[in-house]
């Protein structure tokens, strides 16, 4: 009962926020009177029209790049983060390395990656992976480190081996933090995606937006912006659902 109430309350809140945002947008377009900011009705019409053309292909390529990067970052960052967090001695060695390199903005390595790895997908995916990897690694390590010791010793006393601990204690215990870092990583990954797609490529939503701009095709440009926004929104939504599914116990 309480849940359904909450749910319907949530849906109403989302609808109201959406309407408010559309009104703000509309007011902006009225005030600016600039083709770069079309009113919402025109923009959505253009967006649907562009989807019939090649916008969908560009979105697909970008989606592939982001998802591959996040997947690789998680597959590398999660086990490594838990391993470091669980072994104090290793953490003593690795921590300074992480603290020295963490604040360096990895985006500046883009030219280096372009030269070494070429202008194809590899250089883009590697760069996005690297950035998301750091986020996931640090968050997972901290979560593993701060995991309640009582869980570990009680499960050890039940006869758990090192692998059992990993599967039954560390991974599920760190999962909420991992999903949070994935959500944060997603935001950063989308931003970096846009940047890497504006250089030396003919594909992807970033290219589509910048190319439309240079051709003074503001309708297409704005359709691309909407497409990218929706992509980020839906990916975020999926992560949210995954969290509800896998971390039911957190909200009890």
């Amino acid at each position: 009962m309480r849940q359904t109430l909450k749910k319907s309350g949530g849906t109403i809140a989302v609808v109201i926020s959406l309407i408010v945002l559309l009104i703000i947008w509309w007011l902006f377009s009225l005030a600016l009177k600039n083709p770069a900011v079309p009113p919402p009705t025109d923009a959505i019409k253009n967006f649907l029209a562009s989807l019939q053309k090649d916008l969908l292909t560009h979105l697909g390529i970008s989606l592939y790049r982001v998802l591959t990067s996040l997947f690789l970052a998680a597959v590398l960052g999660v086990p490594l983060g838990i391993w470091i967090g669980k072994n104090q001695k290793i953490d003593d060695w690795v921590a300074p390395m992480i603290y020295l390199t963490y604040p360096v903005p990895k985006v500046v390595l883009l030219p280096v990656f372009l030269i070494i790895l070429g202008i194809g997908d590899v250089s883009k995916i590697v760069l996005i992976t690297l950035i998301a990897f750091y986020l996931i690694l640090v968050t997972t390590r901290d979560a593993a480190k701060n995991l309640e010791r009582g869980y570990i010793s009680s499960v050890q006393s039940l006869g758990a081996g090192s692998w059992d601990l990993y599967i039954h204690v560390f991974l599920p215990g760190c999962l909420p933090a991992i999903l949070t870092s994935l959500r944060l990583g997603l935001g950063t990954a989308m931003a970096v995606l846009f940047l890497v797609e504006t250089y030396a490529t003919q594909e992807g939503i970033g290219f589509f937006i910048m190319d439309s701009m240079s051709r003074l095709n503001y309708e297409d440009m704005f359709a691309g912006i909407i497409g990218m926004g929706l992509m980020g929104f839906f990916l975020y939504l999926i992560l949210d659902k995954v969290e509800n599914l896998l971390c039911r116990w957190v909200k009890l």
């Binding site: 009582g150 010793s153 039940l158 006869g159 758990a160 204690v169 215990g173 039911r248 009890l252």
Partner: protein, 257 residues
């Protein structure tokens, strides 16, 4: 005596031995025969939990002799451990928490199901099997922790302040319940507490520990625990006040030292 079920002789444990070592336990001697209930009581921070970690096989970094049934402590063996906050995994249901130890022991699915069902049934938890620990009351959670230990059919039950987070009534219920289980299974119980009434109620043998560094100050044969199950009786309170005055005195000694 060396042939006692639980036998500890001149046990020393240091914390952080590499940097600045702090002695947590200083020559602890203690023994408990098979099927007895021993209770260790002492002020907080006196190294009680350190001792339990050694007995549970979680800390092998000690000197001295520790024998359980003639063998050094081994984790996942015949010893079960129940911690203060119960150590239940919040991301697993009651059922999954209880079967965890059986899974580590590579039991067959049929064996696991049968064993878990019978223990949960006995403890009145079967209807709660699909709940998460957060959906249970403190007393229920404590019973799940006991179920998780009992399902492994341990010979020795180690408990580290197991009832301290429960309200007074629930605590007494669970203490009664623990005695019932003991009468049925006759396993050896070694329990740590800082609650005097709990020590007198549960402990056939009471060990008084002093702190910094921890050592056993006194060993008391407590006949009250066996003589009556009534908490309100005069003998019970006499034993409690005896223990209380003793604890006060020994904490004075510790302050003077």
């Amino acid at each position: 005596m060396k042939d006692d079920y639980l036998f500890i002789k001149s046990l020393k444990v240091d914390f952080a031995p590499k940097k600045a070592p702090v002695r947590a336990l200083e020559s602890v001697d203690l023994s408990l025969s098979r099927g007895k209930r021993g209770v260790l009581i002492g002020p907080s921070g006196c190294g009680k939990s350190t001792l339990i970690n050694v007995l549970a096989g979680l800390n092998a970094d000690y000197s001295g002799q520790v024998l359980i049934d003639g063998r050094p402590p081994l984790r996942g063996g015949e010893t079960a451990l129940i911690l203060q906050d119960f150590g239940l995994l919040p991301w697993k249901t009651v059922w999954d928490n209880v079967v965890l130890g059986l899974k580590f022991r590579q039991k067959s699915a049929g064996e696991i199901k049968a064993a878990a069902e019978s223990v949960l049934e006995k403890l009145g938890l079967l209807s709660l099997a699909q709940r998460y620990p957060a959906q249970l009351s403190g007393g229920q959670r404590q019973r799940v922790a006991i179920a998780r230990a009992l399902v492994l059919e341990p010979k020795l039950l180690l408990m580290d302040e197991p009832f301290s987070s429960l309200d007074a009534l629930t605590r007494e219920e669970i203490q009664d319940f623990l005695l019932e289980i003991w009468e049925e299974t006759r396993l050896t119980i070694f329990l740590i507490t800082h609650n005097i009434e709990e020590a007198v109620f549960l402990g056939e043998k009471i060990f008084i520990m002093s702190h910094s560094p921890g050592r056993i100050r006194q060993e008391i044969e407590n006949n009250v625990s066996n003589a009556s199950r009534q908490r309100g009786q005069t003998q019970f309170w006499e034993m409690c006040s005896f223990l209380r005055s003793f604890l006060h005195r020994s904490s004075h000694y510790a302050a003077d030292a």
